[in-house]
């Protein structure tokens, strides 16, 4: 009665459940045993695919980055032609709308970002790099609209992350995109 999947499918299934479990309990808080049972297998079976708990976490992050690469590239076009304010608000709204469709991912990143404040957390370096990159991208995007794009980028990112977290806290009972649009309209000159 045991089901045997090929490497690729099984890994994808595990990574998918890992997003939920780590998002709920954090890296320190979840156990490989728990995650394995959610995938209807044993912890030893799971570790056959991902050698250690740390490797699993990094695989989750890598996997997500690979999946998101195209979407991000589409949202941040290379030829950074100067745009008008309305177009930028549309780009930001698209980012938030995309996140609104992936609450488990928003939750995962919210959880890991706080956990990874600790320098010895396995995802610490990842989030330092990731956040710096995000600030740079937003600063480039917002450059034409502000004389201090770095500061504006920080504020925009902070408001976005803060709103998304609050959206989770309130059980997604308010319209994230609409609220964001109102915020962005106030925040961006």
């Amino acid at each position: 009665m045991r089901t045997r999947m090929n490497r690729e499918d099984r890994r994808a299934a595990i990574l998918d459940s890992a997003i939920a479990v780590i998002g709920e309990r954090g890296f320190h808080g979840f156990s490989i045993r728990d995650l394995a049972m959610r995938c209807a297998m044993t912890d030893a079976g799971l570790l056959h695919h991902f050698g250690s708990k740390t490797d699993l976490l990094l695989a989750v992050l890598d996997h997500r980055d690979a999946q998101d690469e195209d979407a991000i590239a589409a949202l941040f076009p290379r030829e950074a032609a100067p745009r008008d304010r309305a177009e930028m608000l549309r780009v930001l709204a698209a980012i938030v709308a995309r996140n609104a469709e992936r609450p488990e991912l928003v939750r995962l990143y919210a959880m890991l970002r706080v956990e990874a404040l600790a320098a010895d957390h396995p995802a610490h370096a990842y989030f330092v790099t990731r956040d710096r990159l995000a600030r740079r991208r937003f600063a480039e995007l917002l450059g034409p609209l502000s004389e201090t794009p770095e500061r504006l980028a920080r504020q925009v990112l902070a408001a976005m992350d803060g709103l998304e977290l609050q959206w989770l806290l309130e059980d997604r009972t308010f319209d994230l995109v609409a609220t964001w649009n109102e915020t962005a309209d106030r925040l961006i000159p």
Copy 2:
């Protein structure tokens, strides 16, 4: 060579270390043993003062609330006389300035707020209540400035929390209060 403290002092010392430890690793991630060693005692000794890990967490939250009560009351005066915009910005700046002096507390609440998204987390109910209360207080405060104070309160709180988290992520290398003031000036009509 063992040091024996009176109940009150020992409890205070433990709660103080607990703020740091839980803020670093989360409720699920820290161990009573680790915390006890940081206080130069055994886990059994610690559990003599706080019966269980859950009780300890709730004691931390209670203790903080008790300490903060006066400060909060001072910042949100009861007689909610209508004020002008400048005065409100001053109140918000005072809140952020107070938090800027307590980074371990900001970190603790950031960690627990995300962890407590899970309905079975021991602080879940606490944070649901706390956040609702915060939104109500801010909505009352901002009432005179907006026709939709609830929505504005949400956005202000989100921006504040988001900025504080980013401030921790960037190792407090930017001026939190100044950045907040710029944000608030843009956000509040």
